[in-house]
């Protein structure tokens, strides 16, 4: 297990390098001159030159890249073009927000998806199965932000059970935190729970036909034990592989759902950065997201190894 983690962490380095090269070369293609963007056309020639110097734009792209990389390696992702905010601190401030949404929605997606998938798989073609399958199919077709709008209209504006907007940090009040992330997480988790349910169902149906299930039942083990211990452990193996992809999807979905709930997470930061063409901010955001995705992949790999003895290095 340790070797697996170490291997994964090592693989992270080239990946981050490639991503940083990609984003850096990509953003240096931007049609507009950042200095013009920042100063508008009001600044004097002198101001333009000073800013150019300060941003290091007079250096060739390659030099700029390595300067940036050197600082990034020390955790300094640079400074926003538009104010003196450090990219690292801006991203880190928003990270708990987006992570909260991603985490809670992943939790919801897993619980709902696994439960529905099992229920459907246990009685293939029963009404439970049809209902779950239909629900999963529709769930994957519903835009998360639209679902969010409806949830706000019903549960926040009409019933007032949850706040309609905003985010409370967990350190301020765990209860308020939970209230503030519930609706967005449900909106966000819907399509993933649908995807997971479909995956669990097909994996479970497959596993339930396996000899070892029949063999376990032939030994007189109770149905519950057979389903939850013998079948589920095996059915979760392909599901875990899907899960890491779904969490990436959730992270991306969070960017949009945040807008519905006016939550200041990475999404708001990203959209502002795009509108202003704030390149250092965009670079930092992409890099942090990739790192997050890799961590998630690592975690799922570990779980995968725990579930599947064949995947363990012996």
């Amino acid at each position: 297990m340790f070797r697996l983690i170490a291997h994964r962490l090592l693989a992270l380095v080239p990946l981050l390098l490639i991503v940083s090269v990609l984003t850096f070369s990509f953003t240096s293609l931007l049609p507009s001159d950042p200095v013009d963007l920042i100063l508008g056309d009001t600044g004097t020639q002198e101001q333009h030159e000073m800013l150019r110097e300060r941003l290091g734009l007079n250096e060739p792209v390659v030099v700029r890249y390595f300067q940036w990389l050197g600082r990034a390696a020390q955790g300094d992702l640079g400074t926003s073009f538009f104010n003196s905010v450090s990219v690292t601190s801006a991203v880190m401030q928003r990270l708990p927000v987006t992570l909260s949404l991603t985490f809670v929605s992943a939790l919801i997606a897993i619980i709902v998806g696994v439960a529905a998938g099992i229920a459907a798989a246990l009685r293939p073609r029963s009404w439970v199965d049809r209902f779950a399958t239909l629900g999963a199919t529709i769930g994957q077709a519903i835009p998360n932000f639209w679902f969010g709008l409806i949830l706000v209209a019903v549960f926040a504006v009409s019933l007032r059970w949850f706040p309609a907007t905003g985010f409370t940090p967990i350190s301020t009040s765990p209860w308020e935190w939970l209230r503030s992330v519930t609706l967005p997480s449900i909106a966000l988790g819907l399509s993933s729970s649908a995807a997971i349910a479909r995956q669990v169902r097909s994996a479970m149906v497959g596993v339930l036909q396996q000899d070892y299930i029949r063999a376990a039942r032939a030994q007189g083990l109770s149905t519950r034990r057979v389903i939850f211990r013998h079948a589920l452990t095996n059915a979760m193996i392909p599901v875990v592989a899907v899960l890491s992809f779904q969490i990436t999807v959730l992270l991306g979905g969070a960017l949009i759902v945040e807008q519905v709930f006016a939550i200041n997470g990475l999404g708001t930061l990203a959209i502002t950065a795009v509108r202003q063409q704030d390149i250092p901010m965009l670079q930092g955001l992409v890099l942090v997201m990739v790192a997050l995705v890799v961590v998630v992949q690592l975690a799922t790999d570990v779980i995968y190894g725990l579930l599947n003895p064949k995947a363990r290095p012996s």
Binding site: G40, N83, P163, T165, Q259, T268
Partner: protein, 494 residues
């Protein structure tokens, strides 16, 4: 360290103080008042105090100053003694002069454009030298132009996120969250301690109108500002919320920048411009877009402003037949097409205007811009026309500074003003007394209507949405003509 300090400070006032939460509709760009080009003043007021401020009736009241004297191009201002910046530096004439001179150099604040230089006459006397007579100089010092930054912070490249002033509260960076909330805590060295009534003041950055409304409904904020839109109308109707219609107004108008027809020849034809002014159904516009919260407008000022001329009411009342007739008489009976820049909050306004212009054969393409860039792009020749709002309490001289003079800020095509306009603009500067200046500006408004390169649409009051408790809080005082609450003496609800 700063965190511990803030905590200690918070506890000292906590018993009787509490928190007040305000929501601002614009995103914070910079906390440097001298780089700040208009909106977002509520982020600055807790930290920065200006030399003067507006009294309840719009009169100039000394704040960091104690008095002033204007003598031709020389302005002498006496400063309050015993005031220090929150970083410990002393507030004196030297610091004030450094501030004014930096403002001149940065050249962002319109009100300082008439100032040549500033110097310290003695420790508490500031002398300002004007380039030209300016009856509104003290007025300008009531706003960002008069806000005093600590000398050490003047050279700080990060002053946009690290403001240091003399105000009743200090900016608490560690508890603020970028793009979300700015936290202010009491200034332990404030010169007028009795006026600190809060342990904590927060300004939330909530650009989404619905989100801001929901925050007000759920009590996450105590007050906030709104444009005249659907959410403001909802607040107006909600039984437990109140919509405060404050003085000062946002005058929404269309500017024909290319009025000599460089890019769009039709704009050189006054008949076309008049037809456009007549084609706008301002009542319907007000009802549908501004939810009846505004009034029709035909001039730069609103009812009650000293330069307002009631006789101009209805000069371009909606008359489609007449507008079509003018178009037919003009050199462009077939109509024409032009581009109009837009930002999200003006989107529906422009879509409505496009619909009106379509009726007289004019196609207006809406070109979306990034929020916060409209004013800047409007000063370029990128667009033959633009749309902006202007606060009606702004001194009328700025109408000329913005739109009329050949080098006016929003005259990118350098159109030559008519002799009449130029003469009236000069005449308005001849006195410092409003009553003496008013006739000139009234005539100027009439002349503007006649030339019709500024098409005024509606005038909406400054709107605050507040909770019932805030509405009943006697310490809540709205700054004259401004979208912020006076923090001196503000105490929390309950």
């Amino acid at each position: 360290m700063s965190c511990a300090l803030a905590l200690a400070a918070g506890q000292a006032w906590a018993q009787e103080a509490g928190t007040f939460r305000y929501a601002e509709q614009v995103k914070l760009i910079t906390m440097d008042p001298q780089q700040q080009s208009g909106s977002g003043v509520p982020f600055l007021r807790p930290v920065y105090e200006s030399l003067f401020e507006k009294g309840p009736d719009g009169e100039n009241v000394p704040l960091l100053a104690t008095g002033y004297e204007v003598d031709g191009l020389d302005v002498t201002i006496t400063l309050r003694e015993g005031v220090s910046f929150s970083n410990g530096e002393a507030f004196n004439a030297e610091a004030a002069a450094a501030n004014i001179n930096r403002g001149i150099k940065l050249d962002v604040i319109e009100g300082l454009r008439t100032v040549e230089s500033a110097e310290a006459a003695n420790e508490y006397t500031l002398r300002i030298k004007l380039k030209e007579p300016d009856p509104a100089i003290i007025n300008s010092l009531c706003y960002t132009g008069g806000m005093m930054i600590a000398p050490a912070a003047l050279d700080d490249p990060a002053v946009d996120r690290n403001p240091v002033g003399t105000g009743p509260y200090v900016y608490n960076a560690s508890e603020s969250r970028e793009g979300e909330v700015r936290v202010y805590t009491p200034n332990p060295t404030y010169w007028d301690k009795d006026k600190i009534g809060l342990a904590r003041y927060e300004v939330w950055e909530i650009p989404d109108d619905t989100a801001r409304l929901n925050s007000l409904r759920t009590g996450q904020i105590d007050a906030g500002n709104w444009l005249s839109n659907a959410q403001a109308a909802i607040i107006d109707r909600a039984p437990d919320l109140e919509l405060i219609r404050h003085n000062g107004g946002l005058n929404y108008h269309v500017i024909i920048s290319d009025r000599e027809g460089t890019v769009v020849p039709a704009f050189a034809d006054p008949l076309v411009r008049k037809a456009m002014a007549l084609a706008i159904d301002r009542d319907a516009f007000n009802q549908a877009i501004q939810f009846g919260l505004a009034v029709k407008s035909f001039q730069p000022y609103g009812q009650g402003d000293w330069a307002y001329d009631p006789s101009l009411e209805g000069v371009y009342e909606y008359d489609l037949d007449k507008a079509r007739e003018l178009m037919a008489q003009s050199g462009f009976p077939e109509g024409f097409t032009f581009d109009m820049p837009s930002i999200p909050i003006y989107q529906s306004r422009l879509e409505a205007l496009a619909g009106f212009f379509q009726e007289i054969g004019i196609t207006m393409n809406i070109v979306p811009l990034e929020p916060g860039t409209l004013a800047r792009r409007s000063r370029t020749t990128d667009f033959p026309a633009t749309n902006l709002v202007w606060n009606t309490i702004t001194d009328p001289k700025f109408v000329a500074l913005r739109y009329i003079y050949e080098d006016a800020a929003y005259n990118p095509f350098k159109a030559k003003p008519s002799d009449e306009l130029l003469a009236l603009a000069e005449e308005g500067l001849n006195s410092v007394e409003s009553e003496e200046r008013a006739p000139a500006y009234k005539k100027m408004a009439a002349q503007l209507a006649d030339e019709a390169f500024l098409i005024f649409v509606t005038n909406a009051p400054i709107l605050f949405g507040v909770s019932e408790k805030t509405a009943n809080n006697p310490s809540v005082v709205y700054r004259y003509g401004e979208d912020s609450i006076n923090l001196r003496g503000l105490v929390a609800n309950d």
